[in-house]
């Protein structure tokens, strides 16, 4: 079920009303049933994958907690391997099979590995990572194993964040299912505000931008530098509004029922370095990789070479997490290289800034750094968006061709898109790190109501209503 569908418009109030109507001891069952219905609206049979993952990790959690030493580690390994095998089978098998077959052809060995052509279960990477974080936290002794199978299943399947995160940690979410949540007007209001803003970003901004971006990236060979630059900038905002819009709706839907999920975005395009960008973009995934990959590898408290290896490994895995394609791997690698390059050139850049007199103008320096970071991020987005490496490289090779005409076939989409981007950036600037609903709370009633009415009317007048999927669902 998509957040931007009419089904959800009926499903959400119904589940929320029932949630507050039933006694606390039955609420987990209600939410679990609702989450199953939500998930089964996509491909019903795939719920079996979730059931298997849940059962294995539920068992692993209790097994690990009850033991010490080697058996404890064995329990962790069994859980991680089983979860990763599921992920590999559905998400990466065909990628490796195709590449092995290509290798066979190139080497002359002539072997071919058959592909399976399986449809990727929606949100697989999200709920498997959430399961993994539970088992790892139990192993590390930071989380008690959950003995109630239903509550544990709900932790993995909680519908607002089931298919595209935020990827929660058990310490933050699990205990919330055990606490009674009373109906509170303020939390319902805040949640609905956040949902409204998220829906606006998705259907008015992201889906409008996607029309232009798809027209260009669907026919990359037809377009020159100016069009490719414009489409890439638009894609940068499309993916931001799409994913942060989804996250806002998820956070808002959970908030209405009294749950607090972790914030997933913090004005990423205001970041002044790529490192900062990754502290502001998809925070729940970035911190997951930090806690479970980067730090265990040694993090930054290591030699220069080792740190380079740690950061590159983390970002390459992050790239692969996003999709089984070389383009995602290059996208991840490029983001890792940016960080290595950023740290290597820190003193050089400072000297350049001093020469240019930027250090005397901190605001100007911030704008400059944010601009450079945005440009680097956009360059990486080319790989993320292009359907293949060949097309990504072909697009990059034509970025400098500024003589080719700008593609303006649909001026309407461009107008709506640019207006939407301006509004989102203005809102990000205005909120200054606070959440949307918190910033809005401080405004007088006339401003708040104007914002509500303005957003609803904008959704009705300019929203794209054919319920397109969220980009991150494919991961």
């Amino acid at each position: 079920m998509l957040f931007n569908s009419l089904q959800f418009l009926i499903f959400f109030p119904l589940v929320t009303l029932l949630y507050f109507a039933v006694p606390h001891r039955y609420r987990w069952a209600l939410l679990l049933t609702a989450s199953c219905v939500f998930y089964m609206a996509f491909i019903p049979i795939y719920i079996l994958i979730l059931v298997v993952t849940i059962l294995i990790d539920y068992w692993a959690g209790m097994y690990i907690e009850a033991r010490s030493g080697r058996p404890r580690r064995v329990g962790l390994i069994v859980s991680i391997v089983s979860t990763c095998v599921t992920l590999f089978f559905f998400k990466y098998y065909d990628f490796f099979a195709t590449n092995l077959s290509a290798l066979g052809r190139l080497s002359g060995a002539g072997w071919t590995v058959p592909t399976l052509g399986l449809i990727l279960p929606i949100g697989l990477s999200f709920h498997t990572f959430q399961s993994l974080s539970y088992v790892i936290e139990v192993y590390r002794g930071r989380q008690r194993a959950q003995r109630h199978l239903g509550i544990y299943a709900l932790y993995v399947m909680f519908y607002p964040q089931l298919v595209a995160g935020p990827i929660e940690r058990p310490q933050n979410l699990l205990h919330q299912f055990l606490e009674p949540h009373a109906f509170r007007y303020a939390q319902v209001r805040d949640g609905l505000r956040l949902m409204l803003w998220g829906l606006f970003k998705k259907v008015v901004v992201a889906d409008r931008l996607s029309i232009y971006v798809s027209a260009v990236y669907g026919n990359l060979s037809h377009h020159g530098g100016r069009t490719l630059i414009l489409a890439t900038v638009m894609f940068a905002f499309q993916i931001y509004c799409d994913f942060s819009g989804y996250s806002d709706i998820a956070l808002g839907a959970a908030r209405v029922m009294g749950f607090t999920l972790m914030r997933n975005f913090d004005r990423p395009y205001f970041a002044k370095s790529v490192g900062e960008f990754w502290r502001r973009w998809h925070i729940s995934l970035s911190t997951w990789f930090r806690d479970y990959v980067y730090v265990p590898l040694g993090g930054s408290r290591a030699s220069w070479q080792r740190w380079c290896f740690n950061i590159m490994a983390t970002f390459l895995i992050s790239g692969l997490w996003h999709g089984a394609n070389w383009t995602y791997l290059v996208w991840g690698g490029l983001n890792g290289l940016y960080q290595v390059g950023g740290r290597s050139t820190a003193s050089l850049r400072l000297r350049i800034h001093e020469r240019l007199g930027l250090t005397a103008w901190p605001r100007l320096r911030n704008v400059w750094c944010a601009g450079v970071t945005f440009a680097l991020t956009c360059l990486a987005w080319v790989f993320f968006r292009a359907p293949s490496m060949h097309e990504a490289l072909s697009a990059l090779s034509r970025l400098g061709d500024l003589r080719a005409p700008l593609f303006t076939a649909d001026a309407k989409e461009l107008t709506y898109g640019v207006a939407g981007i301006a509004l989102v950036l203005a809102m990000d600037y205005w909120t200054r790190g606070r959440s949307f609903e918190a910033a809005l709370s401080e405004q007088p009633v006339a401003v708040r109501w104007s914002v509500y009415l303005g957003l609803i009317i904008a959704i009705l007048a300019a929203g794209v209503f054919n319920a397109s999927q969220f980009i991150y669902f494919q991961f």
Binding site: D410, K412, T415, Y416, W449, L453, N466
Partner: protein, 293 residues
């Protein structure tokens, strides 16, 4: 709670108010990029009306065809449309007047299956949702299609830009006859032909093609199916289902395979493999008008 109800009431009033403004602006609009040409089509009777998608929109020049045919011609083609839209538009048109000839520019895309919901293509007709025939068609899309019509702004979704721009600029007069072409010349090699198999055709859309033809014939209009030129390798044989349907309904087919019409082989006449440019449209419109005469 009181505040929430007040907000809802305010939203209701604002929605109705803006809906009225949009009704007013739309009724005055004769042109736009989201189907506002419908008003120009309905404003006065035309002898020949062309239906179809972007290929129709870009290939038939009423200004060229009208003098040859000694008849008024209107090009009602709309980019990206399918036969559901054409059928709804035909119902709307026949409620106003009956043209002598209806030309349907056949494009496989109009009747083939796609991932998108075919009923979504009806959106240019949304401002006419009060028309019983149009509403019947919208309602066939189920509650997902009808529920948003609780709002009076929604029928003008994505159209406000057109309503404002084309009301302020009025860059085409009432005499506008619907052609929307391009002067670009195709740069790339032509595409291979897309050979659809029978199972690629959507039975619902083929059924609506039949209804489209039968409705026009029952009201006394003559229907012609035209396959205008395209610059692609190979031929585009009409699917057997469609051919059988055209035979059954005695609808003549005028096609332009490049092997039989070398005058349409030059790349200079095309903006891409599927669409003629202005030069091509001028040449094709004249040729078709002579053939029709």
């Amino acid at each position: 709670m009181k505040r929430a109800l007040l907000l809802l009431a305010l939203l209701f009033v604002l929605d109705r108010l803006l809906g009225r403004v949009a009704d007013f602006l739309y009724a005055r609009t004769r042109d736009g990029d989201t189907g506002e040409t419908i008003n120009a089509l309905l404003a006065k009777p035309h002898d020949v009306v062309v239906f179809g998608s972007s290929r129709a929109e870009a290939h038939y020049m009423p200004g060229i065809m009208a003098p040859v045919l000694s008849a008024s011609v209107f090009n009602a083609g709309f980019k990206g449309s399918n036969i559901l839209y054409d059928y709804g538009l035909e119902e709307l048109l026949l409620d106003h007047y009956v043209p002598k000839v209806i030309i349907y520019d056949f494009s496989s895309f109009s009747v083939t299956k796609s991932h998108a919901n075919p009923y979504d293509k009806l959106y240019p007709l949304y401002p006419f949702w009060r028309n019983a025939h149009v509403w019947e068609l919208i309602a066939a899309g189920g509650y997902r299609a009808t529920l948003p019509f609780l709002s009076r702004i929604y029928p003008y979704n994505s159209k406000f830009h057109s309503l404002l721009i084309f009301n302020v600029l009025q860059h085409r007069a009432d005499a506008y006859q619907g052609f929307n072409g391009s002067s670009a010349v195709m740069a790339d090699a032509p595409l291979d032909s897309l050979n659809y198999s029978e199972r690629d055709y959507d039975p619902l859309l083929v059924e609506y093609l039949e209804r489209f033809i039968e409705l026009a014939q029952s009201r006394g209009a003559r229907v012609l199916v035209v396959e205008s030129p395209r610059r692609a390798y190979g031929s585009f044989p009409l699917p057997a289902t469609v051919l059988a349907l055209l035979r059954r309904t005695a609808v003549p087919v005028l096609d332009y395979p490049l092997s039989e019409h070398p005058e349409f082989q030059s790349f200079e006449l095309y903006r891409d493999a599927d669409h003629l440019n202005d030069s091509g449209a001028r040449q094709f419109s004249a040729a078709l008008a002579r053939r029709l005469k």
